[in-house]
């Protein structure tokens, strides 16, 4: 009798194992939103419609929620609009992207405290004095399925995420793969392991060979449009292009504590026909941003030419980056008149609206000269650049008016400009890209937008007057 009972029990157990219930976990993931706040009402509508069917769906961000939209980045509490919109949508978690550090340590601390969701990142170790609130992993339990999410942020050549070095002082970052391995034990205690990374697609593919214990990598950083999800080394990898063009909807099927099936598809956010009205209303509120009306300095006389405004811009870049020289393509100066009176944040953003990064190079005088000429040719619609730290006399060829026949550069006091001396030169990222002239040092991005340098300069100056300032004289050769 006892034998029969044991046999029946064994058969029952085997049968129940064979037919163990399959459970499906749904995740909606985004990455590199870069403060595309105008698409948040559409994202909210997508989340609403999916949560109506799948109420336990997790919504995750793989970092770089901020940076790229002045309405967000220059709010009184920088990036608060994104935090509020993500709170309203009901994000479950985010990892840190390199741009989360753009607001500095205290800025990031504020963001982590204002968010209703945790920032998950295992390889950041901030000094407690900053008050940055992150956790290395979080376990979500949905329908008795345990889902461990481990976050990680990119570490660049400099040993920290790609942000301005001042923004990451007194924060230790440890290598991504090595640090993730410290959390391998989570695979033994949970049914699903998700890595929420901000390291780039190619790096995620490489990482996958070392983290076969994970089921899914939700990636960010490289703005790569993966078609749904791809499996590399047994690990599914997802990522979408930046600025909330798409999101990824992921379904994980779990049975007996294992992921037995994975599906991922993209949903188009840009142009999605529905909007969540509450989120749209919140967006309207944030769009009327009083921070844009903030007065940075007072203009004691009107600025009346591209030359005057370009001189002010390049002075700002030179002074605020500690450079010897600065220059901009003339097409980068977007208006030629500003009346006397307040110089506001809005005025700066209209003057320099492209979100260009600042780039610094070590150039010889000759390389600088060649770069000015190359910029003129590449930006031919607008002509010779605007400069700071030198004066220029440009002579165009009478036979070919677009060609520079001679360029004389002098120091501001009229002294000789040394073509062999090395100068620290700042320009914007667009100019650094288009100026295709020979130089040893291509430079490095300073992770500070050129518009932010102008704002800082104006705040430091308090009053400015560029009446009649002219550093570039242009003429046509006699022959």
């Amino acid at each position: 009798m006892k034998k029969l009972f044991l046999t029946v029990a064994a058969v029952f157990l085997l049968a129940s194992a064979a037919f163990a219930e399959k459970k499906e976990i749904r995740i909606l993931s985004v990455n590199d939103i870069h403060a595309k706040i105008e698409n948040m009402p559409q994202l909210a509508a997508i989340v609403d419609s999916l949560r109506a069917i799948y109420p336990d769906m997790l919504v995750m961000s793989a970092g770089d929620n901020r940076t790229g939209e002045p309405l967000n980045d220059l709010y009184e509490v920088p990036t608060y609009p994104m935090v509020a919109l993500m709170n309203q949508i009901g994000f479950d978690c985010s990892t840190l992207g390199n741009h989360e550090f753009d607001g500095g340590q205290t800025g990031l601390a504020t963001v982590t405290h204002l968010s209703n969701f945790p920032y998950i990142c295992c390889n950041i170790h901030p000094d407690p004095k900053w008050g940055i609130n992150t956790i290395p992993y979080k376990v979500f339990v949905i329908d008795d399925v345990r889902i461990a999410v481990i976050g990680a942020v990119q570490v660049g050549k400099a040993g920290h995420p790609d942000s301005h070095p001042d923004n990451v002082t007194d924060i230790l970052f440890t290598p991504v793969e090595e640090t993730l391995q410290e959390y391998k034990w989570l695979a033994d205690e949970n049914d699903v392991v998700i890595l929420l990374t901000h390291i780039g697609y190619e790096e995620d593919v490489e990482l996958s060979q070392y983290v076969r214990w994970a089921d899914l990598i939700i990636g960010g950083h490289s703005h790569t449009q993966v078609n749904g999800g791809e499996v590399h080394n047994g690990v599914m990898i997802t990522q979408v292009v930046n600025r909330l063009d798409n999101v990824t909807f992921i379904t994980l099927t779990v049975q007996d504590g294992k992921v037995v099936d994975r599906k991922a598809e993209n949903i188009k956010v840009e142009g999605y026909p529905k909007k969540n009205t509450a989120v749209a209303e919140l967006l309207r509120f944030f769009s009327d941003n009083p921070a844009f009306k903030r007065v940075l300095a007072t203009l004691t006389a009107p600025m009346t030419s591209y030359e005057e405004l370009g001189c002010m811009m390049t002075d700002a870049w030179r002074v605020e980056t500690g450079a010897d020289l600065a220059f901009t393509n003339t097409g980068g100066v977007r208006y030629d008149y500003l009346p006397a009176g307040p110089f506001t944040v809005s005025d700066v953003l209209r003057l320099d609206p492209f979100g260009n990064d600042s780039v610094q190079m070590e150039l010889t005088g000759q390389e600088f000269k060649d770069m000015l000429i190359a910029t003129t040719y590449a930006d031919s619609e607008y002509g010779f650049p605007k400069v700071s730290g030198v004066n220029c006399e440009v002579i165009f060829d009478k036979k070919n008016p677009e060609k520079i026949k001679d360029l004389k550069i002098t120091l501001p006091d009229g002294g000789k400009f040394d073509l062999k001396k090395t100068y620290k030169v700042t320009t914007n990222s667009y100019t650094a890209a288009i100026a295709n002239s020979p130089r040893k040092d291509q430079g490095r991005a300073l992770n500070r937008t050129t518009a932010s340098l102008i704002q800082e300069y104006l705040e430091h100056q308090k009053t400015i007057d560029y009446t009649g300032v002219c550093r570039v004289k242009q003429s046509v050769s006699a022959k």
């Binding site: 870069h34 790229g68 790609d162 703005h223 790569t224 990064d357 890209a433 291509q442 430079g443 992770n447």
Partner: protein, 65 residues
């Protein structure tokens, strides 16, 4: 840093984004910069990447109009 755009290696500043490498490529090839907004940028795997995608040393990207 050096980045390959199609078959051309361009030397560009550290911290450059995909659009910067493509702009340098277009200027180098004497092509209109306006093509930047008309084309698509792909990584070595053939995935589309954004204009603001960060680049790293030795990265290979493709630009197609």
């Amino acid at each position: 840093m050096k980045v390959q755009v199609n078959r051309t290696v361009v030397d560009i500043f550290d911290g450059a984004r995909a659009q910067h490498a493509v702009l340098r490529y277009l200027v180098h090839r004497r092509l209109s910069q306006a093509l930047l907004k008309q084309g698509r940028i792909q990584d070595a795997y053939g995935h589309e990447i954004g204009l603001d995608a960060p680049l790293h040393e030795g990265q290979i990207i493709k630009f197609k109009v």
